[in-house]
Symmetry: C2
Subunit: 306 residues, 2 copies
């Protein structure tokens, strides 16, 4: 069968058991070479207290939270999750090439709205944070949306050193806290995930709380809503959320055993270069460039713990 | 309900009946303002000979072909379509955040492969064309993938005037002709549609034949294939294609009555500016920039012909 060859396989789970070869990454490696040659130190586990499991009938979506960028929102989300706030709520919106969003479909009905319990009802906007003190691995490629882009702790991010500001970038899989017109109206109880072309115009306009690291296909395939902004017009079209849990609240045996590639290593630099200039024979014209949101953030299954 | 407000409504069909106001577009217009103030001359119908209907059980996908960029491939696709080549074939691949692809699932089986009939079995690669003589509406915003980007006849495109080369850009909805390792191995009988973050690294590496203008959600929601490259592992997982037809081969009453916004007008420039710097109150930080693949290409329903 005639096939497109630009394999993005490693965006899905890559097999564990990376080769033990500790060779220095070479400039002409393919992405698969880089993954094959990576060592245990090139990967990191997820912190169970910063990991959300969104449990749907179709499977589990794994989200890594970003307390370094949105500490108040992340704390509020943890409080909501521990109280079971999201359990039994639903995905209420899927707008093609943009976002899916979940929360309390009865939020406008005082008689039916779900209480926030111990969670804060008011949070500050956390659109940007100080750039100083942040370990920022810069991507040298030009970006139109920000003076500098790169990676912080595995998250695609941007930086303006003159303004001492850094923020998370709205790439595919970014998770944010929906808000109304007021900048400080998000509470973390209404969350969206980017499922389309990176809407970087949202950067610095809304609080980004994390990113999906596994299982995004359970969200991206949802039927598009036919109402304004992709909201479902009929309650029966919504996708029920069985539960949202912190990994730390789930027995170890039931956790999703994955690791994500570190973004502050020579191996990751080699991976970026392997995508900036594709080395496999299929390509006749290497791009010589990569956009921040085109950089893959590899995740792999961990088959056995030592 | 707390909502994200960056409405992309106009990416879906916008209501016809644009206001008759012929005011000069002003810099501070919102996208809705621009659409409301557009005149009939800001819109164009699709050429029925350049319009494909992909008929699925879930509905119709409308594709505009780009003979200005891939004349031989487009001619071959027309020949294949007129002969009913695609009818009864299937969508065989859906790779998350990348592409869906259809063609002959039996192409590797000489006993079962479908004949190309009168269509050419060999075509030249049509990765680029001459830039000279092409009406190119440049987008002034920086782009990392090409010296210049912009629009040609409604298609997002790129240009290198020094090399006298122009090509279509792989934005969401781009339609291309799958190929094997040889650059000239595509025949137009295996087609893919971009359903994820713009894979601009494919630009100049494969023949792009058009773009989806309506109904892409019938493709973007398809279950992701679990085999390599997102191919379905079981034949029963494939989505049957009832038929692919040229609009010119469909009775007028059965055609999809839509118009697309012209990209070579002041109204379109105003639309781009309305997205480069969002004017609605929700935004606190206008981006001052837009990426080529974030520019909406509005389509509207035509409710009644004069």
């Amino acid at each position: 069968m005639t096939k497109l060859r630009p394999a993005l396989l490693a965006l899905a789970l890559t097999a564990a058991g990376a080769a033990a070869a500790a060779d220095e990454p070479k400039p002409a490696l393919t992405m698969q070479d880089v993954l094959d040659q990576s060592t245990a130190a090139d990967w990191r586990p997820l912190d169970p207290d910063n990991t959300l499991y969104v449990e749907l009938a179709s499977g589990r979506v794994v989200i890594e939270l970003a307390p370094a960028f949105a500490p108040r929102h992340v704390a509020n989300i943890r409080t909501l999750v521990r109280a079971g706030y999201f359990d039994g709520l639903s995905i209420n919106r899927s707008q093609d090439n943009f976002v899916v969003q979940w929360g309390d479909a009865n939020s406008a009905d005082p008689a039916a709205v779900r209480t926030l319990g111990e969670a804060d009802a008011k949070l500050p906007a956390e659109f940007v944070r100080d750039a100083e003190g942040l370990d920022f691995t810069r991507l040298p490629d030009v970006d139109g949306w920000a003076p500098e882009v790169g990676f912080v702790q595995g998250f695609p991010a941007a930086r303006d050193t003159k303004a001492n500001a850094a923020w998370l970038a709205h790439c595919y899989g970014a998770v944010g806290a929906g808000r109304d017109a007021a900048a400080d109206s998000s509470k973390g109880n209404e969350l969206y995930v980017v499922t389309g072309q990176s809407p970087r115009q949202l950067d610095r306009n809304i609080t980004t709380v994390g990113r999906v690291v596994h299982g995004i296909e359970h969200l991206s395939v949802l039927p598009r809503g036919t109402g304004p902004l992709g909201f479902y017009e009929q309650p029966g079209q919504r996708t029920p959320i069985k539960a949202i849990r912190l990994a730390s609240g789930v027995p170890a045996a039931e956790r999703t055993a994955i690791e994500v590639m570190r973004t502050d290593t020579p191996a990751f630099q080699a991976l970026v270069e392997s995508r900036r200039n594709r080395r496999d024979g299929w390509y006749v014209q290497p791009a010589g460039h990569i956009d921040l949101c085109n950089v893959p953030l590899p995740v792999r299954a961990v088959t056995a713990k030592k």
